[in-house]
């Protein structure tokens, strides 16, 4: 069974803080993704990675950065958290050849920025 885990289920941070969201997958998947999910907007892609040390911007990368130092781990970084980054963050992974394989999702981190 594919397992994608995220470091926290719930997180509360203050405006201006640096925030790290960690994602780990145990199936040796090449592709990893970060999405945010907001009511009425659905899932939107923030960043993705096809390989270690490789990253690509998704649809809404502003205010975020990512790091992939190891194949199994993909981190999302909010350099200076703002209230409009309050959201549910979902990590996903898939085999290479992304369009041929389903993405497996982690349980999500609900981040509140006050």
């Amino acid at each position: 069974d594919v397992k994608v885990t995220q470091s926290s289920r719930y997180l509360v941070k203050r405006t201006g803080e640096k925030v790290f969201l960690e994602c780990v997958q145990d199936m040796d998947h090449e592709n990893m993704f970060w999405y945010r999910q907001d009511p009425g907007l659905g899932l939107r892609l923030i960043y993705f990675s096809y390989d270690v040390k490789m990253k690509e911007k998704g649809d809404i990368p502003e205010g975020y950065s990512v790091s992939r130092e190891k194949k199994e781990r993909f981190s999302l970084i909010l350099e200076s958290a703002s209230t409009n980054q309050t959201s549910m963050y979902l990590c996903a992974s898939s085999l290479l050849g992304a369009q041929s394989y389903e993405q497996y999702f982690g349980p999500g981190t609900r981040l509140t920025v006050t």
Partner: protein, 111 residues
């Protein structure tokens, strides 16, 4: 602009009813269409459709794709309260070849 549109946005039915969820898309470089079920947490994969007219089936759930009319439907027969969830439709395509998600259909099944 690439887009995936799901309808209805929400639906309330009673146990035993049959429901049909709709997903239409306008996506360049279409590769495949996926359905996910999302309860309180992670979306879980249901189906991947790549060819028109071929029904995929899993228990009481089935889905079909029409690449000419650019839509897919997800059918659930004899609904149960455990089917209550948000159902997400997503299409692989666009300029980056990533998944483009619809906003989801929230299904509530009343006992």
């Amino acid at each position: 602009e690439d887009k995936v549109v799901q309808s209805p946005l929400s639906l309330v039915v009673h146990e035993g009813d049959t429901v049909t969820l709709n997903c239409s898309y306008e996506v360049t470089n279409f590769r495949s269409l996926l359905w996910y079920k999302q309860e309180k947490k992670a979306p879980t994969f249901l189906f991947m459709l790549t060819s028109s007219g071929i029904e995929k089936k899993s228990g009481r759930l089935s889905s079909i794709l029409d690449k000419k009319e650019l839509f897919s439907i997800l059918n659930i027969t004899a609904t149960q309260t455990g089917d209550s969830a948000v159902y997400l439709c997503a299409v692989y395509g666009g300029s980056q070849g990533n998944l483009i998600f619809g906003k989801g259909t929230k299904l509530s099944v009343k006992p």
